[in-house]
């Protein structure tokens, strides 16, 4: 039948131009290379460990995505991540229950987000500058709070967050999946999420239509802070400690995941599942370097290069739109 052919072509075209296309393409290419040159890349246990360790980045990326869609950026999430871990470790040390410790850590994340949102939305300061400053403030706070010491965690229920396996799948992966589904619903179904796209598309026009753009942005930064704190908790449970430098450089990975996931750094475009795939791509890339016996020192260089390459590809594909 001739009728089906254009439909199939349309589907292919849609797949190629969808947000996830680049991340999927990148994952496939890196996997093929790593399988060809690495010894242990293609195994279930390796894949599971990649997904599990990247679930932490994926959770951060969900928050970052929500900030990037309305045209912002949050580079303080690495520091917030560290703050959450230290706050939880200190609370546990003071004898609080794991639940209380986690809530205190999340509250810290929300507070950082609220402060970011306040400076961006109410005082109209450029997001990059606000969160750059906040990155320094929060990192400094961690050193003050912990006296620059690592704090070891030996609270079994807290550490269980990383150990529990539900239906054959480790809990961190479930958490990342839940964060992704939540963000997907927020972005595609909720009023607030819809307005976040509008603010990213044309902030002035959105304001003219009665959208409270400041409130939208404020919400996005708070969620970003919460997501970073949650990721910090997951990581503290995994490494059984809170390090004062925990999370350094993670903002790069989260932003890279979002951008590889097809979001526009200038706002207005992006999707949660694609950002999760972006996080997976970054993880597979890191893993491939290890599996191929390339010096770990190359890791950041290769990461950075891969991000630029992916963005160049996306510019080529959607070339006609300037």
């Amino acid at each position: 039948m001739t009728g089906t052919k254009p439909a199939a072509g349309g589907l292919l075209k849609r797949a190629a131009t969808s947000d996830s296309a680049l991340a999927v393409f990148g994952i496939v290419v890196v996997s093929l290379v790593a399988t060809a040159f690495g010894e242990h890349f293609l195994s279930f246990s390796n894949f599971e460990s990649v997904v599990k360790s990247q679930s932490i980045i994926a959770v951060m990326a969900m928050g970052e995505l929500l900030v990037i869609i309305p045209g912002g950026i949050d580079i303080s999430i690495g520091a917030t991540f560290g703050l959450a871990g230290s706050a939880a470790a200190l609370s546990l040390g003071a004898g609080h229950s794991p639940l209380t410790a986690a809530l205190i850590a999340l509250a810290c994340g929300a507070a950082v987000g609220l402060a970011n949102g306040f400076f961006v939305a109410k005082l109209n300061i450029v997001p990059f500058i606000v969160t750059l400053g906040m990155m320094g403030i929060v990192r400094g706070l961690i050193f003050i709070l912990t006296d620059a010491q690592s704090i070891y965690i030996d609270n079994p229920p807290f550490l269980a967050v990383d150990r529990i396996v539900v239906a054959w799948i480790p809990l961190p992966i479930w958490i990342a999946a839940a964060a992704c589904i939540f963000m997907h619903i927020l972005l595609s179904r909720s009023v607030l999420g819809g307005r976040a796209y509008a603010v990213g598309g044309d902030e002035e026009a959105a304001r003219m239509l009665g959208v409270k753009t400041g409130r939208v942005k404020m919400f996005c930064y708070v969620v970003s802070g919460l997501a970073a704190a949650a990721a910090g908790l997951m990581s503290a449970a995994k490494v059984e400690a809170a390090y004062p430098r925990a999370g350094e450089g993670y903002e790069f990975e989260a932003i890279a995941a979002v951008i590889v996931g097809g979001a526009s750094i200038t706002g207005g475009k992006g999707s949660a599942p694609a950002a999760a795939l972006g996080a997976l791509f970054i993880g597979i890339l890191k893993n491939a370097i290890i599996q191929m016996d390339i010096s770990q020192y190359w890791q950041q260089t290769v990461n950075g290069f891969a991000v630029i390459l992916v963005i160049m590809l996306s510019a080529l594909i959607s070339g006609r739109r300037r």
């Binding site: 179904r189 009023v191 819809g194 796209y197 990213g200 044309d202 304001r207 239509l209 009665g210 207005g268």
Partner: protein, 494 residues
């Protein structure tokens, strides 16, 4: 007579240095399609911007449906049912049609937290269909044509019960067929009792669509005509007659040899532009906003990409142009947006003046302070720029003195052709006259000058010859001697 949807009385709006609206009266009836015409800068935009809630510091009285109203923000305007459809549409290219229509006003479910996509698509589909528009609500906006986007914006206005829609040059980017569709929609709106203010420089459209027309001139009312009194001559008669305040006479001079030759120049917008300018000649560019005045300047200076045509300066081919190339060849552009392109606000007068001519004051790559001071002092005295000190921040000068500094900056590079785009915009009358004197003197000194202005009277006052532009092409080339505003307007307003 009453029965007005909107009445405005004694409207006054001041901008620094100018009175944009001076005791203006305006009114419109429900369901009426009303034209608003006037030359550039006559006050049309200011009036509709007040209606749209762009200003909060105007004086005057506004009555909506007989009741006093205060419009201070866009939200106020919307609450009164007043919606503006601008030339740059305020739509979201990253969202679909339905989402665009209902943004800020979304149908919801689940205690108002979630969007009701089904209801949104259904309602949007119904609204679009009621205008006979064949647009799917799910289409991403960036797949639509400009005309379709405009329709979407009109439909959006109706989704929140607009009673007055302001259309600012709505047909400027539409094809003839699309204009017909728009006409159908306007008739539809009228049948629904929606009042329309149509701002256009195409007088044919006033004749075709409007029942009444308000004419503005120099920020004042210059007449109201009923349908029975409509004629192109009467429109133009109302629009002309701006008084530039003082008797300035341009010098009669002999035009020298041809310096700049433009042959068949075109890009996406400009079409087959050809003209010549000689030494000591001022060529004026006349035309409505968007006719191509600024675009020609930009094309000559290499700011955009030209697709065809040749530019020769002093017999030497300089096309395709590029700014640094154009400068070296002897072209200087004084741009329209002084704040954006002409001066660097944070820097001193001295540094601004030296920006383009630092090379002349330098030896082995180092600026010699003495030589630099000399260049700056010469420029300041030649153009009578009033400053206390070379190191004064340029932002602290008046608009007129800043403009003189921009001119001085370019004269310091010793160009041969000056491109002046709206050189007296936003400048007080006294300084305007001073700048006219400078421009005239520069022509006498042998510069070839291309002058564009949003004020037609200014072009006629200064130019030796006038090029009338209409939608990107040259409509006529006229000798400025004895040329009247009526003659030019009849050509520039089709």
């Amino acid at each position: 007579m009453g029965g007005y949807f909107l009445e405005m009385k004694s409207m006054v709006k001041r901008f620094p240095g100018t009175l944009a609206l001076d005791q203006v009266a305006f009114n419109i009836r429900p369901g009426e399609t009303l034209g608003l015409i006037g030359e550039n800068g006559a006050g049309k935009s200011t009036l509709v911007n007040i209606l749209g809630g762009a200003f909060s510091d105007y004086e005057g009285e506004i009555l909506v449906e007989g009741k006093p109203a205060r419009i201070l923000t866009p939200t106020d305007a919307r609450a009164l049912g007043i919606v503006g459809i601008r030339q740059e549409l305020s739509l979201f290219p990253n969202l679909n049609v339905a989402r665009n229509i209902f943004l800020g006003n979304e149908p919801r479910k689940a205690c108002g937290l979630l969007l009701d996509h089904d209801a949104m698509a259904r309602e949007a589909g119904r609204l679009l269909a009621s205008f006979g528009l064949d647009i799917s609500p799910e289409t991403p906006l960036d797949r639509l044509t400009v005309a379709q986007k405009q329709m979407v914006e009109i439909v959006r206005a109706l989704s929140y019960n607009a009673k007055l829609i302001i259309m600012d040059e709505p047909t400027s980017s539409l094809t003839e067929k699309e204009v017909d569709i728009l006409a159908g929609i306007m008739a539809d709106l009228k049948a629904r009792g929606v009042a329309i203010i149509l701002i256009t420089h195409k007088l044919n459209e006033i004749l075709r669509f409007c029942e009444r027309v308000f004419i503005f001139r120099d920020g004042r009312n210059a007449g109201v005509l009923e349908k029975g009194e409509f004629s192109r001559d009467r429109f133009i008669e109302g629009m002309v007659g701006r008084d530039l305040g003082a008797a300035f006479r341009r010098t009669r001079r002999e035009v020298g040899e041809v310096l700049l030759e433009v042959e068949n120049l075109g890009d996406g917008f400009l079409k087959n532009i050809s003209f010549k300018v000689g030494t000591g000649e001022i060529l004026g560019l006349a035309g409505a906003v968007g006719a191509g005045r600024t675009e020609i300047m930009g094309a000559l200076f290499g700011l955009g990409k030209i697709s065809y045509g040749r530019i020769r300066l002093g017999g030497k081919e300089i096309s395709p142009p590029h700014p640094s190339f154009a400068m070296r060849a002897g072209l200087a552009l004084v741009p329209e947006e002084r704040k954006a392109h002409g001066v660097i606000q944070g820097m001193s007068v001295r540094d601004n003046l030296l920006l383009s001519s630092l090379g002349n004051a330098a030896r082995w790559g180092f600026v010699r302070g003495g030589a630099a001071s000399g260049i700056v002092a010469d420029a300041v005295s030649a153009l009578n720029i009033r400053i206390a000190d070379q190191h004064q921040a340029i932002g602290s000068l008046s608009g007129g003195n800043q403009q003189k500094a921009v001119l001085a900056k370019w004269l310091a590079v010793k160009p041969r052709v000056l491109l002046l785009d709206d050189p007296t915009r936003g400048i007080d009358v006294g300084t305007k006259r001073e700048i006219y004197g400078i421009i005239d003197r520069l022509a006498n000194e042998g510069y070839a000058i291309i002058l564009s202005s949003s004020e037609l009277a200014e072009v006629l006052l200064l130019s030796d010859r006038v090029l009338v532009l209409y939608e990107g092409s040259v409509k006529a080339e006229l000798d400025a001697d004895g040329l009247t505003e009526e003659q030019v307007l009849a050509l520039s307003h089709a």
